[in-house]
Amino acid sequence: MAHGFKSYDSSGSITYDSTSVTWNLIGVYTAPANSNATFTGVTSMNERIVVRQMVSDDNNTDKAYVHTYTLVGTTLTATRPSSTQTQATTFQVFGR
């Protein structure tokens, strides 16, 4: 690289390289099952992406609905598609 930085461990292996445009975790938010939820204070960055993951220890809910969402400014709004069949959903918001 012409500019940037690399970090190494004591054996000389690269552990981080600034040419990797990594995504930083802005926050993890969990919307409860069958409920709407609003999360504020979500840091604004140039680019953000959201990864959703349904979290459940109940195997019978694997056919459930996932929350839909909007991320506007610093507010993440999670909406249940169903009041009885929406699974708890974890939102991982990344930014860079």
Binding site: F5, S20, L25, V28, I49, R52, Q53, D57, Q92, F94
Partner: protein
């Protein structure tokens, strides 16, 4: 920020921000068990045909692999990247279909892989620094702290390095064309996958991806048959009603160095049937219809998809960063 460290590149993309918890590598995991999910149910009745009474080869379920991820005391689920068993446009599809807190020290994850192979993917798990209490002994590296004094980045713990991203969703349906004929269902996935450019641009076989499955679908093939005549001294008319169904989850694969494909894999396959014989023309009509399923057998839901239009973000990294 008033204090701290922010590192950006020429595109003004933030590489490190000491106010934000970055993900760090916590381990590489092989499956602790695997299984296929099928459901067979004979709902009764004297069955003249007594066949077929199995899961058809045209509804072959994928295999579910279970992983145990030790993360003592954590409250946030780990991020589970999949290192698939193969790449390319003929490779198996795989996706994380379930994650849950198993006990105080462990999370469990299920990965569904298309095909019945018992060779499963490898999971590369990541967590934020506030969720792990493991120790490192290396004394070289870079740490950042937030305003509360918590470590947010630690180069000794192999920070997550993302080399590509996309936004993916599976095709509208796992199947196209006829779903069956006679007593043969056609329920295996035959959809052409959706393809996305990731920008990873590195050797496909070295790539790992994070894209939990959101979408599910359930489709069925029903067949009703009846005949009449003198079967024996007791029966004049007989019938049988079958439903073959498959429950699908969205699944993914690394297609090329720079592309990612989204499709489906069969999570569970089922076959339900009921039969009847009668000594007259009367009494067989109730077999012909879906209500028999709801009465006594497991069936996820009928002929539709859920979360299908919900695209999910994909993150791509390299296994060799952490091996």
């Amino acid at each position: 920020m008033t204090y701290g460290l922010t590192i950006t590149n020429d595109s003004n993309q933030v590489l490190i921000d000491s106010d934000l918890f970055g993900y760090h590598f916590i381990g590489k995991y092989s499956a602790t068990s695997n299984t296929t999910h099928t459901y067979l149910s004979d709902l009764g009745g004297t069955d003249y045909w007594d066949s077929p009474n199995t899961i058809d080869t045209n509804q072959t379920p994928g295999r579910v692999f279970e992983y145990n991820i030790d993360l003592p005391g954590s409250t946030k689920p780990p991020v589970c990247f999949i290192k698939p068993t193969g790449t390319g446009t003929s490779a198996r599809y795989a996706s994380v279909i379930r994650v849950w807190k198993y006990d105080t020290n462990n999370w469990r994850a299920w990965v569904l892989q298309s095909s019945d192979s018992t060779t499963g993917p490898t999971v590369y798990a990541f967590s934020t620094m506030d969720q792990t209490n493991s120790t490192v002994t290396d004394t070289y590296g870079l740490q950042t702290f937030n305003s509360s004094g918590e470590v947010t980045f630690d180069s000794r713990r192999k920070p997550l390095r993302v080399i590509g991203a996309a936004n993916a969703e599976p095709t509208a349906s796992p199947n196209s064309g006829s779903l069956g004929s006679g007593t043969v269902p056609y329920l295996n996935v035959n959809a052409t996958p959706n393809t996305y450019t990731t920008g990873a641009n590195t050797t496909a076989s070295d790539q790992i991806y994070y894209c939990p499955s959101l979408a599910s679908a359930c489709y069925e093939y029903e067949h009703f048959r009846e005949e009449s005549g003198w079967e024996n001294w007791s029966y004049y008319r007989w019938s049988r009603y079958d439903i073959w169904w498959c429950f699908y989850r969205s699944a993914f694969r690394i297609a090329t160095n720079n592309t990612f494909e989204a499709s489906w894999a069969i999570y569970m396959a089922g076959h339900i049937w009921i039969a009847q014989q009668a000594g007259s023309f009367l009494g067989l009509g109730y077999l012909n219809g879906i209500p028999v399923v709801g009465a006594a057998a497991y069936y996820p839901y009928s002929d539709s998809a859920r979360n299908q239009g919900e695209a999910n973000s994909v993150l791509i990294s390299k296994a060799s960063y952490y091996d």
